[in-house]
Amino acid sequence: MKPAAFDYLRAATTSEALEALAQQGGDARVLAGGQSLMAMLNMRLAKPKLLVDIMRIKELRRIERQKDAVVIGASVRQAELLAWPALAEALPLVALALPWVGHMQTRSRGTVCGSLAHADPSAEMPLTLVALGGEVLLRSAKRRRRVAAKDFFAGMMLTARADDELIEGISLPIARDGRFAFREVARRHGDFAIVACAAMKTSSGVRLAVGGVADVPTARDWPRLDGTALDDALNAFAYELGARDDVHATARYRRDLVRMIGRDLIGEVLQ
């Protein structure tokens, strides 16, 4: 399996990359760590005319702690974020979820933002972004905008990013006193999730976010619930996600996982 032919542009600055995207539009793809895109190219599921390599753009390689949020630039690799000393304290949910992303051999190259751009419905980083209510920082040659996580994912492998836009980075809210939990079921560690769940305590109760079931990772907030009220809420949520049968698991199994893992994780964060 070899990719179809494309031009390759190694951008040295963000404006060079944006200029290329403005000119080439939908015929261009942004290449970061390549852990999703290169497989798509090899299988010829994507045949861009131009690849814009952003990994040598210095200004995109930053993890910046602001007052209430951490900004992670587009060329920050997953392994780099995992090694960031403040991760467990500032972004505990990311610290829990990130080791589940692929394997050590792919996290070393793959970027955090690349996983979001790829928008696989069962991937852990999109789920984490939605669970935390983060934002995606988009930029084109003409403008900048911030898109909330829930508006960014538009469907299976579809996002709100326009053809001429680059994901410059993401912004994730810093955890205050929160309690977080993450769990995933997959055939093997490192495979895509059959179901992945993240839970966190919120000011008014609890939030559960689920990946691997609907076309996009989906979060739901509840007041403090327990007993049968919690069971009913989880059951309704599991059905609303519209699980389908596929080669990996039945819809029923996925709903079971949402009900059981959801209950466990909510118990963990509310205890």
Binding site: M1, K2, P3, A4, A5, F6, D7, Y8, L9, R10, A11, A12, T13, E16, L31, G34, Q35, M38, A39, L41, N42, M43, K49, L51, D53, M55, R77, A79, G102, H103, M104, Q105, T106, S108, R109, R188, H189, G190
Partner: protein, 172 residues
């Protein structure tokens, strides 16, 4: 900014196991093919070509890297290590390689180059590894022969030997 045209070949230069190398590649050429076809470094194997099997794993600037998910053009100017660089000399195997041999950690050998590169990198960063850590690392590789157990054994043995570099225990 560097722009390489799709229908031409372009010079790619990097350091391979400490030696500068150069050859030509179209922009779409994978690093795995560049190593094997352009440079003749066929120690790196190619299994799935979509990032799943780990056979093609090499080290680029200190990072474990699937060479089938990397373009030759991307690594211009980088430092690359492959299985050819593991043995200290042409007639001697390295400590990890010797441990593989003693423990029958390879049968057909197709997966071995990639696994050796992963373990070499991992043992360098984790001189006292646990079995769980090694299993986690190996989840990024597929081996259809060994059942993994001898590989884990070899890795633990090599780590122990590297931690107490006393005497040679094999003429392998």
């Amino acid at each position: 900014m560097t722009r390489l045209n799709s229908n031409a070949r372009h010079a790619v230069r990097f350091t391979l196991n400490g030696k500068p190398v150069e050859a030509e590649a179209e922009p779409r050429m994978l690093l795995s093919d560049f190593l094997r076809h352009q440079l003749g470094a066929t120690g790196t194997h190619v299994g799935c070509e979509h990032g799943v099997c780990g056979a093609c794993t090499v080290i680029v600037d200190g990072m474990l890297t699937r060479s089938c998910l990397t373009l030759a053009a991307q690594v211009d100017g980088c430092e690359i290590r492959t299985v050819e660089g593991l043995a200290p000399s042409a007639d001697r195997l390295g400590v990890l390689q010797q441990a593989f041999r003693r423990n029958h950690a390879l049968q057909c050998g197709f997966c071995t180059a990639g696994i050796l590169m992963s373990l070499d990198h991992y043992l360098g960063e984790n001189p006292a590894p646990t079995e769980a850590g090694i299993r986690d690392l190996l989840s990024g590789h597929l081996c259809r022969c060994t059942g993994y157990t001898p590989i884990i054994q070899a890795a633990l043995e090599a780590a122990a030997q590297l931690a107490s570099p006393t005497k040679e225990t094999s003429d392998a």
